[in-house]
Structure formats: C-alpha cells, structure tokens
C-alpha cells in the first residue's frame, strides 16, 4: 500500500539534512518503480503525482515517462489530468516517447467533454513537437471554429504553436483568423491576436493581407478604453479594462502601421485616445502606455501624436519608479534611430542613469548613451563616460571600457585625440581593457608616425606615475620597445618649450620596475614576455645600455614559463657577436598594418606637441639645442593639414604594400579563397614566431619552391589549438642579392590563413634561411581536406623583376 502524496511531502519536509532527504526520496522512488513494474493501476496517478514532486526537487524521474502515457490513455478524468500534467513536466518536445501520445491526444480532442478537449489542447500547445503539430493541425483547425469559446481560445493558441513550429503550413489558419479577431470573448480575441502576431513575425509578407482587420482591432481597443463598456467589471485591473488584450492589440497595430502611411492614419485617433486616457499611476496603466509609445514611435504617426508619445517617454524617464525608468531607457534604445533630437534632449538624464545603483538600469543607460554618441558630441560624451569609469564598480568597468573604445574608434575627430583618450581609458580602467582593444591601440599608434614621439613620451610618463593598470603597462612597454629612440633622442619639446630629457638608463629603470612589480601577479609571465621583446628592440635604440639589457634578459633564461624562457634565450642569442650585422634588420620597427585601424585613416592627426608632462617626473631640463628643429619640421607638416595619415610613411617601415595585390591573389584560387596577405601583426607575438617552435608538434621540413637560385622551405608545426604555424625560410644561392622580395600565399576556402610580415625583403647573396616569414593556418575541414597553398613570389634580381608562381601540397596528414 503506497502512502499518500500529502504524507510523502510531509516526510520530505521533516528531513533535517540533505542526506536524510535523499534517503527518503530514494526509498520512495524504489517503491514507485516497483509499483510501475507490477503495472499497478489503482495507484498509478498517485505515484506519478508523487514523482512530479520529486522531480521538482531536482531528482531524476525519467522512469515515470511511460506511466504518464498510460494515464492519458485512461478513461477516468482524474487519471487523465495527472497524466497530462506529468506529460508536460517530465517530457519535452524532444523526448522520443512523445510521439506515442499523438493518438491519445487526437482521441481526447474528439471527446464529448470540453475539459478533456482542453487537457489535450493544452498539452499540444505546450510541448507539441514538429511531427505532432503536423499530424494534428487539421483537428486544431476544426476546433478553432467550435461554438465553445473555451475550446476556440485553446485551439487558437495551438494554431499559434503550429505556425511557429512548422514552416510549410504556416498559412493553414489564415482564413480562420478573421473570425477570431471579431469574437466577443476576450480569451478568444487574445488568442487570435497572439496567433496573428506569431504569423506576421514568422512571415511579414502577410502583413498587407491582414491590414483589413485594422478597423476590427481599433473597435476592440476603443470599446475597452471607453467608459461604460459592458464587460468592464469582469476584466478590470486597477481601473484598466483588460490590459493584456489592449497591449496585444497595440502590438499588432505596430506591425501593421510600420512604414505604411495609410494604416498609420487609421490608428492615429485611437492611439491618441489610449495615450491621453490611460492613467499612468500604476503598473497596469503604465504597461499600456509603454506599449502605446512603442507603437507611436514605430509607425508614421502624426506630429501631434508623436509629441504626445515623446512626452510620455520624458515623464517615464523622470519617474521615481525604477521599473518605469528601466522601460523608458529600453524604449529609448529601440527608438534611438527614429528621433535623434529627442534623445539628445534627454541626454543629461540618461547620463545620470549611468550612476544608478541598479545594474539593470546602468546597463540600459550605457547602451543608450553609446548609441547617442556621434561626431558632434564625442568629446563631451567621452568625458562623461570617463568620469563614470573613475567611480564605476569593477564588474561594470569591462563593458564600459569596451564601449568607450568602440565610440572613440568610430567617431574620434583626430588621431591625437584618439590616442589621448585611449591612454586615459587605460590609465583609469587598464585592468579591464580587453586584449583586442590594446592591440588596436598599438596599430593606430604604429600607423601614425607623426605621433610616435608624442605617444611614447606620454606613455612613459604615465607609466612612471603608476604601474598598476595592465593595459597601460602592456601597450606602454610595447611602445617603449618600438619607439624608444624617440624617447631618448631629446628632440621632443615640452609645453614650456623645454626639451624633454629621458636617458636610456631611465627607460631601463622603468622596465626593471615593470619586471619587479607586474600589474597583475597572476599574469606576470605575459607582461614579462612583452618586456623581453621591448628589451631586445631597445638594443638598437639605446646601444649604450647593451649590458644592462643582457643582464635583465638573463633573469628569464631559466624561467619556468616555457614561452618566456624560450624568448629570452633566443633574444640572448641575438645579442651574440655573430648577429652584429643582421641585428638592425631583425630589430627594425614592426611593419605598419595596412588595415583594421578603423576609420582613422582619413582623419587628421591633430597636434603633436606635448602639452602635459607630469612636472615631478620630468627629466633634467637642458638648454634648448638644435634638437628642436625636428619638431618644427613636424609642425610644418601638420600646419598644412594635408598630411594623410597613411601607414608606413617612415623610411624604416619596410613592408611592401600589397594592398592592391590582394585582388590578384584571389584569382589564384578562382576568386574563392579568403586572401590573407599581410595581416596586421599582433604586437610582440610575431616575435615569438620568428624563432619558431614554441612547444608545438614539429613536422619534417618541406621544400615548397626551388628555382633560379631561390629556395623556399616550409617548417610546419601543429599547435595545441589545432592551428598550423608554417615558418617559411628563404635562401638565395646566387652571387647577387634579391631585393624587394615579396612572398604571398593563398589557401582554399576551408582554411583561414594569417600571414605575419617577412623579417626582411632583401635576400643577401649566398645565404640560407636568413629571411623568414611565419604564417598560421586554421583548417576548418577538421583534417578531411588536405591543406594546400598557392604561392606567388616576387623579387628583383640584377635589376630585373622576377615573378614566380607555385603550389604546395603534401603537408602531413591532419594539417
């Protein structure tokens, strides 16, 4: 004899510990299983009910699924009712046994009793799978015309599910919808509106056809808004007649009125009536006003009506109720493109919402603020956002930082301002600026030679102030390495016309401090890697510090961090005398990336003079020497305002411009390949690859190309993440040098190729493997298709240009 449901609940509630509860549940589950196995009919529905309670507590109950089907097949209403409840709780539309219930549902839909019909419809509406929907669509269609509103409304909602689930028969119910919309029963009307909304969302092409029901919808809405409506009492909530139906109708009208002047005309009056007559003191009224404003702002509303909508929105925004302010911001976000002027009027209120204690409101406000930013207000808006960054909570800073960076990238008036602002972001929230944003910053800096000196000086002094912000330290270290020569040249002039003096020793001291105190202890190795790269670059920029650099690099040659150890060992190797002649080439500036610096190419550079240097940390002031001349030249350049900020104007930027070559390269593979010539280099990462072999699986060397004294060898290596890094090494066996050397590769569609720039574009005579270029490929066919590459090589030999083509296959399996 099984215990009653009530007793089970009581005994579970009496348990004092989780273990005790588990024991009670396990015991009861065992009993229920036995009862199921013995096919006990008498207590089956009680057992399933108990199982439902156990299920709600999170215990596995799949063994009850079949029992639900048996209960549904029973002729007794109590068993059926529990069976259907179990069905919707224990199964979902993806459960396999669900298909077995289709026939029972069909029978129950034909039953004489409306409640049995109701159970069947409810189950179909809640968990009906695609197949079930298809099988029962005809029955549902018939029931939509039932004289009983209880059946009609449920059938209409089932039809809605069918429309959402099954594409091919979405129009099956179209001729029934009209009757539903003219029904007098609110339940049926409500269901009819839901069905139509679903249909129009699935396939907007029906909107035109159904516009003829606008008058019926307007009439229904007018009835509810007008006082003295006969059914008012039954549907009244806080003085509003059926807010649910009103909102549904308003939403439908929105779909009809969008981008259609005639339809909008038909609803202008009723929308005005709803907007003026609905009282906005309670949630119920506000839910209608909210829906109404959305409709007004979406359709071609008359100007008077639009003003009405905007006023309601303004009132919402100033409300003291948090819920109302939240929906006001959500609405602004959705209508931001409709009326920029209105938005700008509320700007201060929106910005105030950024400081709200509620994360939901802050998030909304940030999104709205971001969409308010444009060329005209970027400066003032960024200032507000930066102010806010100063006080924002940690968990919000990341989103805030990325929004500021995005806005700056999109709208900054000039490069100088862009760099200034990004540095400010990194000073305030440097621990929350994402890797991608830091990289972008570096690209912008690299692409603006006029501001190299300015940027590196600014970063240097900011780092001297504080080393606590990771992004600032990372980009700062990178810039010190790349542009350290500007810093120590003494040519830059401060705001008071005094030259800024930073000695190479100062730079080394700063890097030493970074090594000693990295901004985030747990990611110290990453910082150290960047420092080693900066150090090696400084060898050529500050030759006087050679020994100090070597000493600092030595710190890492026994590091437990593989990458760091490898880097430092390799860098130490370069310091050897063997490399004296090649060092300047190897340690040259990073090539300027050609793309992905945002819309910045077309922008002015801005003023390159230095106007703020922290006084305390300024170096010793020396007499104004001839060094000032350099900056003057620079100013001349800027005065012309015509200086296009093209990448690589400096003589040192040694990367060949292959921008135009991208198109040709596409032809190599019938235009289908994603050409990836000269992907912008990631700061510092390229360095690692130059020396290859960072812990991946190395494959045997392949000869990719050999002709006329030029030999290209490939050293592929599979990395842990499945990508393949191919290091191409170039050898010249002739007695004359090959100059203007350009190596390009193209791959089929299933491979993504990223190329790092070559380490040089001159192959000296009789040298092997001196110049290298690294490429990384990701084969998205999961090894089903073999990696293949087409090559194009160009160089000048004996004054004559040479153009070669080649194809490389035969990569190891799985590459």
């Amino acid at each position: 004899m099984s215990i009653k449901l009530r007793e089970l609940i009581r005994s579970i509630r009496a348990c004092k510990t989780a273990a005790e509860e588990r024991a009670v549940v396990a015991r009861e589950c065992a009993l229920i299983r036995t009862a199921f196995k013995e096919d006990d009919n008498q207590f089956r529905h009680r057992n399933v009910a108990k199982l439902l309670f156990i299920h709600m507590m999170g215990y596995p109950t799949h063994f009850g699924q079949m029992e639900c089907l048996k209960l549904i097949a029973s002729s007794k209403f109590p068993e059926k009712r529990v069976g259907y409840l179990g069905l919707t709780q224990l199964l979902d539309e993806n459960t396999e046994v669900l298909m077995l219930v289709t026939n029972s549902i069909k029978n129950d839909m034909a039953n004489d009793n409306q409640y049995v019909n109701g159970l069947a419809l409810c189950a179909l509406g809640n968990i009906g799978s695609n197949e079930m929907c298809r099988a029962l669509a005809r029955e549902v269609e018939n029931m939509m015309a039932s004289p009983n509103p209880y059946i009609r409304k449920k059938a209409a909602l089932c039809a809605m599910r069918i429309v959402r689930k099954v594409d091919e028969i979405e129009d099956k119910f179209n001729n029934k919808i009209g009757n539903l919309l003219e029904d007098r029963n609110h339940g049926v009307l409500l269901a009819g509106c839901s069905l139509l909304t679903a249909l129009l969302e699935v396939n907007p092409s029906y909107i035109k056809e159904f516009r003829r029901y606008i008058p019926a919808l307007v009439r229904a809405l007018r009835n509810m808004v007008t006082s003295g409506y006969t059914n008012a009492a039954e549907y009244d909530i806080a003085g509003i007649t059926d807010p649910f139906l009103q909102a549904k109708v308003l939403r439908l009208l929105r779909l009809f009125g969008e981008k259609n002047a005639d339809a909008s005309d038909e609803m202008n009056d009723i929308l005005a009536q709803v907007a003026t007559n609905t009282e906005g003191t309670k949630n119920t009224g506000n839910s209608i006003l909210y829906e109404c404003v959305l409709t007004i702002m979406s359709i071609d509303a008359e100007s008077g009506l639009r003003v009405l909508g905007i006023n309601i929105l303004g009132r919402f925004l100033l409300s003291r109720d948090n819920n109302i302010r939240y929906v006001a911001l959500a609405t602004l976000q959705r209508v931001v493109n409709v009326d920029q002027q209105v938005m700008q009027r509320h700007r201060n209120t929106i910005i105030d919402c950024l400081k709200d204690p509620d994360i939901s409101i802050r998030k909304r406000a940030l999104d709205v603020t971001y969409s308010l930013v444009d060329e005209a207000n970027i400066k003032s808006m960024t200032k507000e956002l930066l102010n806010y960054l100063l006080v924002a909570e940690a968990d919000f800073k990341e989103e805030l930082c990325s929004k500021i960076c995005m806005a700056v990238e999109k709208f900054s008036p000039n490069r100088r301002w862009q760099i200034d602002t990004l540095i400010k972001v990194m000073c305030l929230g440097g621990n929350y600026v994402k890797e991608a944003q830091r990289e972008k910053f570096c690209r912008v800096v690299a692409a603006t030679p006029e501001l190299h000196s300015y940027t590196v000086i600014k970063l240097y002094f900011n780092m001297k102030e504080s080393l606590s912000q990771e992004a600032l330290v990372h980009v700062g270290v990178w810039c010190l390495g790349e542009f350290g020569d500007h810093l120590v040249s003494g040519k830059a002039v401060g705001p008071d016309n005094q030259p800024i003096r930073v000695t190479p020793g100062d730079v080394l001291d700063l890097l030493y401090d970074v090594v000693r105190k990295p901004p985030t202890a747990e990611r110290a190795a990453g910082t150290h890697c960047l420092v080693t790269a900066a150090l090696i670059k400084l060898v050529t920029r500050c030759p006087s510090e050679f020994e100090k650099i070597r000493k600092l690099l030595r710190r890492f040659d026994c590091s437990l961090h593989v990458d760091l150890q490898q880097r430092s060992c390799e860098f130490l190797e370069i310091l050897g005398a063997d490399w004296d002649s090649h060092r300047p080439g190897i340690l040259d500036r990073m090539p300027v990336p050609e793309k992905e610096i945002g819309g910045a190419e077309t922008r002015d550079i801005g003023d390159a003079s230095i106007d703020e240097v922290p006084r305390a940390s300024r170096g010793p002031v020396g007499p104004v020497g001839g060094g000032g001349k350099d900056l003057l030249d620079l100013n001349d350049l800027l005065d012309g305002q015509a200086a296009p900020a093209t990448g690589g104007t400096g003589g040192t930027a040694a990367y060949p411009a292959t921008g135009g070559g991208g198109g040709d390269l596409l032809d190599l593979l019938d235009g289908g390949a994603p050409a990836a010539p000269s992907q912008a280099p990631a700061p510092a990462e390229g360095f690692m690859d130059i020396f290859g072999g960072a812990g991946g699986a190395e494959a045997p060397t392949m000869v990719a190309f050999e002709k006329n004294g030029l030999k290209v060898t490939f050293h592929p290596r599979k990395d842990a993440d499945g990508s393949v890094t191919v290091l191409a090494k170039f050898s010249n066996s002739l007695n004359v040098p090959m100059t203007n050397f350009v190596f390009e590769a193209a791959v089929p569609k299933f491979v993504t190729l990223t190329m790092q720039p070559a380490t040089g574009q001159i192959l000296p005579p009789n040298t092997a493997d001196l110049v290298t270029q690294s490429m990384s490929c990701v084969n998205s066919s999961n090894g089903e298709k073999a990696l293949i590459m087409k090559l194009r090589i160009g160089y000048v030999c004996n004054g004559a240009p040479v153009q070669e083509m080649g194809q490389v296959g035969g990569f190891p399996a799985g590459y």
Binding site: G187, S194, N283, N322
Partner: protein
C-alpha cells in the same frame, strides 16, 4: 512570449517550474540555480527586471515567494509583471489567501491553474472569474469520479 515561469522560495527552493520552450531537464535545473541566485541576491530597492543571457527576467516577490517570468527581448516587461500578478490573484482566490504551504501541498493544483492561464507562453484567459470557474468544474469532475469509485 514567456519562456518559462518559476516560483522560488526565499530559501531558494523551487515551488513551481514551467518551461514553454524545449529545454533538457539538466539545463532546467542549472538555469533554476543560476536564476534564483541572481534574483535572491538583488536588493529590494532596485527594479524588477534583470537582463539574463538574451532574455529578461521579470520577477516580483509575494510574501516568501519570488514569481519569475523569463521573457524575450522585445516583450513588454511591465505586462509580464501584470501576467504574474494575474496568476497570483487566481491562486489567491482559489486557495483563499494563498500561502507557501498551500502551494507546497497542492503544487499540482497550482499547475492546473497555470494551465488555464497560459498556453505556449501566451496568455489565454484574462478573466479571473472564467479561470476559477473552469478549475472548479474540473475539480468537481475529479470528485464525482472519486465518489463513483467508492460506491463501486
């Protein structure tokens, strides 16, 4: 549309859960855990909406229970609160001053009432009187059946 409805006690116990979109059992319980901890930790002063994944959670506390409705991006949050309130009022009228214990011992009845209010995540009946009328008729059918069984 409403994706799911949850009733969570202040101690984090589930009192009712109903999904209107397919969701494997394991994910349901994971979601319940995640959502309830998010909502139980919110201050009572802040608004009743919380953005969660691509959805919005609209919730309201009634005595010791949190009623949570998960709706889609473009749905009306204020109306979702009205829907929740509509359900609460129906429960209240059915049980007569409903309390958490009523919902624990009669959890199946709460589901029956919900099934008369929502189908497929959309409201089917905005009249409380109609909902209660249909529920009481079905309850009567249950009684008749029980009595017939006892007699037979």
């Amino acid at each position: 549309m409403i994706n799911f409805i949850l009733l969570i006690s202040r101690q984090g116990k589930t009192r009712l859960k109903k999904w209107f979109v397919p969701c494997p059992e394991r994910d349901q319980f994971r979601t319940i855990k995640e959502v309830s901890s998010l909502i139980l930790n919110r201050s009572p002063k802040v608004c009743n909406f919380l953005e969660w994944r691509d959805f919005k959670l609209c919730y309201k506390r009634y005595a010791s229970l949190f009623f949570i409705a998960c709706i889609e991006q473009n749905d009306n949050e204020l109306l979702a609160l009205e829907t929740v309130h509509h359900f609460v009022e129906c429960l209240d009228r059915y049980f007569g001053n409903v309390c958490e214990l009523d919902l624990i011992f009669n959890f199946h009845k709460a589901y029956y009432i919900l099934d008369e209010i929502l189908i497929s995540g959309e409201l089917q009946e905005s009249s409380k009187r109609a909902v209660l009328h249909h529920i009481s008729e079905q309850d009567a059918m249950m009684q008749e059946n029980e009595q017939a069984k006892r007699k037979g």
